[in-house]
């Protein structure tokens, strides 16, 4: 049997649910990894990412009968996922700072409790220091919370999930040139908040052959 498209599965769901969930299950299987991955990139925590991804698919289950397929199913799904992840960011009480501060100089030992949003740049961190990466992720979460919702959504779609401009225009139902300029503005706003909250960390990253992100030292 030929593989059914998302749209065909959605049409089946509308007649089969709630008594028969097989078509819905196929949609879940097809998209669950990408949704989970997108959400994880925003919230940077496994348990939270799973809870949110489950919530996304439950919203889909309850919303499928109203979905009219004006946009593609995946556009609709990823819009729900992005919004759910950003909503969760507002609710999640961020975890405490990583055990090893980004600036581990002795001078910091006696430093008074600092603003948790203001992280200091690392001077001594090794390129594969996972703690620094973890702290960077926390910092990115804070920046996403500070951005306007629309800007955060655009950055997640384009630079976190690598959707094409065309796909984003489809999700948001706006023109391509509008999407491009909004994303450009969102990147500039991101940099401003990042510098403000995370210090002047060297943002020159590269991807090693092992797929790891490496921070280049200046």
């Amino acid at each position: 049997m030929a593989t059914l498209t998302d749209e065909e599965l959605v049409a089946r769901c509308k007649t089969e649910l709630p008594s028969d969930t097989r078509s819905y299950e196929m949609l879940v299987q097809r998209h669950m990894n990408r949704v989970y991955s997108l959400v994880y990139r925003v919230v940077a925590n496994n348990e939270e990412a799973e809870d949110i991804a489950q919530e996304v698919f439950i919203k889909v289950y309850h919303g499928l009968h109203k979905f009219e397929q004006q946009a593609s199913f995946s556009s609709w799904l990823y819009r729900i996922a992005t919004n759910s992840a950003l909503d969760a960011l507002d609710k999640i009480k961020r975890r405490p700072k990583a055990a090893v501060p980004m600036n581990d100089s002795k001078a910091r030992e006696n430093e008074e409790e600092t603003d948790p949003l203001h992280l200091q740049p690392s001077q001594a961190a090794g390129p594969e220091d996972s703690l620094i990466l973890a702290e960077l992720r926390e910092c990115i979460c804070r920046v996403l919370k500070k951005l306007e919702r629309e800007q955060a959504r655009l950055l997640i779609m384009r630079d976190f999930d690598d959707l094409s401009y065309d796909e984003i225009a489809n999700v948001l139902q706006v023109g391509m040139s509008t999407v491009k300029m909004r994303i450009h503005r969102a990147r500039l706003a991101f940099q401003e908040f990042f510098n403000q909250f995370c210090g002047q960390v060297n943002l020159n990253f590269s991807v090693s052959s092992s797929g790891k992100a490496e921070m280049k030292k200046e």
């Binding site: 709630p18 969930t21 299950e25 879940v28 299987q29 669950m32 990894n33 989970y36 991955s37 994880y40 990139r41 496994n46 799973e50 991804a53 489950q54 698919f57 439950i58 289950y61 990466l133 960077l136 992720r137 990115i140 950055l155 384009r158 630079d159 976190f160 999930d161 690598d162 401009y165 040139s177 491009k180 300029m181 994303i183 450009h184 990147r187 500039l188 991101f190 940099q191 990042f194 943002l203 020159n204 990253f205 590269s206 991807v207 797929g211 790891k212 992100a213 490496e214």
Partner: protein
Amino acid sequence: MNCEELAQLLPDLVDGTLPAPMLAEAEAALSECPDCRRELEAARQIRTFLIALQAENANLRVPDGFEARLLAQIHGQRAGLELLDLSSKAFIMWLIELINLIGAFIDPGSELRASGTQLSGA
């Protein structure tokens, strides 16, 4: 190409999606627009940074049992709703019976007169 026109092309310059002839023109115009150069550099830096950072999660997979837990939640919700639906129906039936009983108590004759039109939940 002036700065305003160049600014419109910055997203494509960041993403490397500008056609070759326009790219040459844009690059030439960049030397005349320091603000555009700063914006381009900043936007490029952020995109590279986020893409590289996210590349670490390129092969993320849902935890084991994700789908089973999801379906259990959905079936649990559905069973709860069905139970609620049954309870609602039972409550309405009981209410109708109660109204009929009160009506018969207040006006015993009405039960006989209205036997054809009496409220019935059946």
